[in-house]
């Protein structure tokens, strides 16, 4: 008897651990995300605060629109402003500086920076007090041919003092001599970026700037930074902003924080998905244990326990598991954040921090979310426990009876699913703000999942027949028993499979979506690009020097080139910011095909714009109207709509202007994309090789690709994102596997007697394992099939409103997903199968 009791305790302990883990993994991601991003944020806070120590006031260009996120080039401060600043009474000294993106080549001749870490070119201040970067080893540059680089890059690239290093930006490639290694705020790396410091005039030349990105000001003794700031503000023009040194530091770190905000949100969304899946598992586990303990509850009720006491006992269990899981998740989250930091350090992003930042917000959110999710999921089973009539205690047989799916639940499921799809449709097709639309679609997806989960008990039987038949055919009695076991309590199997379904749906959805994007882009390139080659930045998205394309145009065999630029604008009467593209009217339509509006593009002049058909339809703008536009540098323009273009390849954006206007009015001096046409009869590979050689020598930041290479390049970028999403979804799938393990373990303990009987009449341990394994595989295949179907439905639905989206269903990928789901079932079955096989025949048969 003691043995039985111990075994029961162990079964419960295992259940506790598995259930708690289901919560813990979601919480881990929440806590890990917070700790990690908080740590990064604090690191940058420190870097900026430290490096601004010697600066009392900072003058920066005013930006009407911040285009830096889109690779746009920032306006600069005219030199006259520096003279004006220096003339102020309270100013002791002031220096202008530049700091912008460039390209720094490693010893292999390729751009430095794993994982897209940026390269910067910075100017060295004359006065050490303004220097953010301090020399750790060597000295500062004394001639225009000398640079210092950050010590971390030097170490990774094995640069020695005296080595040559190639840098390129707006000016062509130049090889500098390294004379020093720098640090910022006491650490060797500026958040993983590569930073090259050079003398101010040389940095300006390299970056193609005549003015400054920042003017740093020191106050005379007795003048506070705030006084200095206010004085400068009242004296200087509105085209610049003035902050104290520390305000500027806070602004810089908050800009970085905003950029990281996207990462935080994305990670939290995936944490939410894991928790949602975890909720299924908690619900299922509690449902099963409540059913198994019906007699116990009935006995308690007979002995005089009230309904609320029974309810409380179940809820207490939920609270305990929730709290336990949340604490474990929090602890794991801190470890994960530490691991992420170590990972970043390993790839060279050396973040300056003494340790993890565990904000009280992290602790509170993690614990509250984990506990509340668990509590909510255990509520329905707890309610059911209270409805046990006391007489149940006297009834024979503790094994739950196989009652069919409840009609009420099914109706609720269908309704919920319909509401979910409805919400998603409103989000998709309704004219709502992006945030409202996204929330509606997210909520709709959630409701759809729940709806399908509630309805799926009806689907379990046919699906089990479908996926179970091969097992029955080939495996005989073990396959048959496995299939029967999955359908004896369809609700239980349904919820277990639904947990996996969520993950599989999302995987299916993103792979269809990604495959559609790849196809769409490939089609756009095939249909619209008539150029032989395209030119882009080697990182795939940053703009490049405007001198690149003229250089290429001089290569033998090249007939003509055409540049495309991108910027943004605020258009009067249009909400938010509107993307603007710049073209060369003379050449653009010869290298790129637009369905409508080519003539207007060819005739485009300064002061005019061609707008996209979508934009015209949405904002109800007609040709001939005049738009009032504010550019990123704060210029106000009147642009007459010269025509409406239909660009199926989406190369051009809502507004299209000339590249001249892009430079003069939008302040965008760089090209984002270039197209190259060859002379008739030119040898393509030869000309490409020649162009590549020229670029390598002068502008290694840019590359020339054929249309096919360009398609592959984009597909590669899409895939990279896809794999990242897969990795994050893997967490949700792992959580759902815990659910399969849990359900199997609980079901097996219910079926102890059956297993004993099976063993007594001659079933081998291996066969018992097989039954359990097939049951797990059938369950996970049900989840896989449901997920793939739902994923396809959602993908079709979501991509409907996208114009010209080529829907392509990656059948091989989906087959792989299904096979992986089955294999996951095999994995999930390992522990339960072992337990089932280990069962002692006599113990199992023991009937008191």
């Amino acid at each position: 008897m003691r043995k039985v009791a111990l075994r029961g305790l162990f079964a419960r302990k295992l259940r506790l651990v598995l259930t708690a883990l289901a919560v813990a993994l979601g919480v881990t991601l929440i806590a890990g995300t917070y700790v990690f991003t908080d740590t990064i944020n604090r690191s940058f806070d420190r870097i900026f605060a430290e490096s601004a120590k010697g600066t009392d006031a900072s003058v920066t260009p005013a930006k009407a629109i911040d285009t830096s996120d889109n690779g746009g080039t920032q306006p600069t401060i005219p030199v006259s402003v520096l003279r004006q600043v220096r003339a102020q009474d309270d100013v002791q000294s002031a220096d202008g500086s530049v700091f912008d993106v460039g390209t720094v080549l490693g010893k292999d001749g390729k751009r430095i920076g794993q994982g897209g870490a940026p390269n910067f070119i910075a100017s060295v201040a004359d006065q050490p007090r303004f220097d953010a970067f301090t020399v750790k080893q060597g000295r500062k540059p004394r001639t225009p041919d000398e640079v210092t680089i950050d010590a971390s890059t030097a170490r990774k690239q094995k640069f020695e003092l005296g080595d040559k290093i190639a840098v390129v930006a707006t000016a062509p490639r130049k090889d500098y001599t390294i004379v020093g290694f720098t640090q910022i705020a006491g650490v060797d790396s500026f958040g993983g970026a590569t930073v090259v410091d050079m003398q101010l005039p040389e940095a300006q030349r390299m970056l193609g700037k005549t003015g400054f990105d920042q003017i740093q000001v020191a106050a005379k003794p007795g003048v506070t930074p705030e006084e200095l700031r206010d004085e400068l503000r009242s004296e200087l023009s509105r085209s610049v902003e003035v902050r104290t040194g520390q305000e500027e530091a806070r602004k810089q770190s908050s800009d970085i924080r905003d950029n990281l905000g996207f990462l935080t949100t994305a990670l939290l969304v995936f944490a939410g998905i894991s928790l949602f899946v975890g909720a299924f598992i908690i619900f299922n586990t509690f449902s099963i244990t409540v059913t198994q303990r019906m007699r116990e509850f009935a006995l308690l009720r007979t002995l005089g326990a009230s309904r609320s006491q029974v309810m409380r006992s179940v809820i207490t269990e939920g609270l305990t598991i929730g709290a336990f899981g949340s604490i474990v998740g929090l602890a794991l989250g801190v470890l994960v954040a530490g691991g992420l930091r170590a990972l970043f350090k390993a790839v060279g992003v050396d973040l300056p921090s003494e340790g993890n930042v565990i904000a009280s917000r992290t602790i509170i959110v993690s614990l509250v979310v984990g506990t509340v999710v668990t509590l909510l999921s255990s509520l329905a089973p707890a309610l059911r426990a209270t409805r046990v009539p006391p007489v149940e205690a006297l009834r024979e047989g503790a094994v739950p009876s196989a009652h069919g799916p409840s009609r009420k639940v099914t109706v609720a499921g269908v309704l919920l699913g319909a509401v979910g799809i409805g919400l998603m449709c409103i989000g998709l097709f309704g004219s709502l703000s992006d945030n409202a639309a996204l929330s509606l679609m997210g909520g709709g997806a959630l409701a759809t999942f729940l709806g399908v989960a509630l309805t799926s008990p009806y689907l379990v039987r046919p699906l089990a027949s479908l996926v179970g038949r091969p097992f029955e055919r080939t495996r005989g009695i073990t396959g048959r028993l496995a299939r029967e076991n999955t359908i004896r309590l369809p609700g239980r199997t349904a919820v277990t499979a639904a947990a996996l379904m969520v993950g599989v749906t999302l995987v299916t959805f993103v792979s269809i979506f990604a495959s559609g994007i790849r196809e769409t882009i490939a089609k756009a390139v095939d249909d619209n690009l008539t150029a032989a080659f395209v030119v882009q930045n080697t990182d795939g998205f940053s703009p490049f020097s405007a001198r690149v394309l003229p250089t290429i145009a001089r290569v033998d065999g090249v007939s003509e080139v055409s540049a495309v630029r991108f910027s943004q604008a605020r258009v009067q009467g249009v909400e938010g910011e509107t993307p603007v593209s710049g073209i060369e009217p003379a050449t653009f339509t010869r290298l790129y095909r637009v369905s409508e509006g080519a003539a207007a593009m060819r005739a485009l002049r300064d002061g005019q714009t061609v707008i996209s058909k979508d934009f015209a339809d949405k904002e109800k703008i007609e040709a001939g109207q005049t738009l009032q536009v504010t550019t990123p540098v704060g210029r106000r323009l009147s642009l007459r709509v010269a025509g409406i273009a239909d660009d199926k390849g989406d190369m051009t954006t809502s507004l299209t202007v000339t590249n001249d206007q892009m430079l003069s009015a939008f302040g965008e001096p760089k090209d984002a994309f270039g197209m190259v046409r060859l002379e008739p009869g030119a040898n393509e590979p030869q000309v490409q090789a020649q162009m590549s050689r020229v670029l390598e020598r002068q502008f290694p930041e840019a590359e020339v690709l054929t249309a096919d290479e360009f398609k592959d390049n984009i597909a590669g970028q899409v895939n990279q994102l896809l794999y990242l999403i897969y990795a994050l979804l893997a967490l949700a799938i792992i959580v759902s596997l815990f659910g399969i393990v849990n359900t199997l373990v609980l079901s097996i303990s219910e079926r102890t007697r059956e297993l004993g009987l099976l063993r007594a009449v001659g079933t081998t341990r291996r066969q018992v394992k097989r039954v359990v394994r097939y049951e797990a595989v059938i369950t996970s295949l049900i989840g896989g099939v449901l997920g793939i179907v739902l994923g396809i439905v959602l993908a079709v639905l979501f991509t409907r409103p996208l114009d010209d989206f080529t829907l392509s269903i990656p059948v091989p990928s989906l087959v792989v997903v299904l096979v992986l789901a089955g294999l996951a079932g095999v994995g999930a079955a390992i522990l339960p199968a072992r337990r089932a096989a280990r069962l002692d025949v006599l113990d199992a048969l023991a009937y008191e």
């Binding site: 009695i477 004896r488 059956e754 099976l758 001659g762 025949v841």
Partner: protein, 244 residues
């Protein structure tokens, strides 16, 4: 008592001790006994007498602490789990007190379960005969939950006989049945011995049940205290009172 015919199952000096040290319980204490082919033996005894332990050891479900058991010419106490499982599947049939059937399979599937497990095709002629004997012709498609307790036990007997085992062990097969169903079930076991030459060993505490057997073993405190003909229920009852 002298026994006719060759011994199908025999136990030599088997002892079974549960637990260790002072808490050790001697469930069987040097039992030596043989069971000839084609006979129906009932094992009786008060609670804790060791009758179930004896049956479990004879059937290869449990191992003795010492002693040996030979079943159908195989020494089974040294067999590993796989061999024992095979032995049970091929040479032993079981009828338990309750929960004999898998709820997810219908009556016919339950009957052929040991054959299915072994991956063998049932002998159709034998199966028909068996089904006719247990009288379940019209209920073969029903699942256990749709059968009465008596019907379930008859399915269990058919299952035990389906693989033509060397010996059928029945552990309190009538324990949960009313007297009419009990009588039907015992009659069925009796017929399997008389008509098919089956060897049956049954543990029971019901004197009426024991009276269907050819031979009665009575255990007390882990030893055999009586071995003789099973007579009427009254005789058995008197005997049991004497054993106390």
């Amino acid at each position: 008592m002298n026994l006719p015919g060759p011994l199908l199952v025999s136990a030599a000096d088997i002892t079974r001790i549960y637990g260790e040290g002072e808490a050790a319980v001697r469930a069987l204490d040097g039992v030596t006994v043989g069971f000839p082919k084609g006979r129906f033996t009932a094992i009786m005894g008060p609670s804790g007498s060791g009758k179930s332990t004896l049956m479990h050891i004879l059937a290869g479900l449990d191992r003795p602490t010492s002693g040996s058991v030979v079943l159908d010419d195989v020494e089974i106490t040294k067999l590993d789990d796989r061999r024992l499982t095979e032995l049970r599947r091929e040479r032993v049939g079981f009828v338990f007190q309750s929960f004999n059937l898998l709820p997810v399979l219908d009556a016919r599937e339950n009957i052929v379960l040991p054959l299915s497990i072994a991956g063998k095709r049932p002998d159709a002629e034998w199966l028909d005969k068996l089904i006719a004997t247990v009288g379940l012709g019209d209920r073969l498609d029903h699942r256990p939950s749709e059968l009465s307790g008596g019907q379930q036990q008859r399915v269990a007997v058919a299952r035990a006989l389906a693989s033509k085992p060397a010996v059928v062990f029945a552990d309190e097969p009538t324990g949960n049945l009313d007297s009419k169903s009990s009588a039907e079930l015992l009659e069925l076991l009796r017929r399997s011995v008389d008509e098919f030459g089956q060897t049956v060993i049954m543990v029971t505490h019901d004197p009426t049940a024991a009276s269907y057997a050819d031979r009665l073993l009575v255990l007390a405190d882990g030893r055999i205290v009586h071995d003789g003909e099973a007579n009427t229920a009254e005789d058995v009852l008197d005997l049991m009172k004497a054993v106390g």
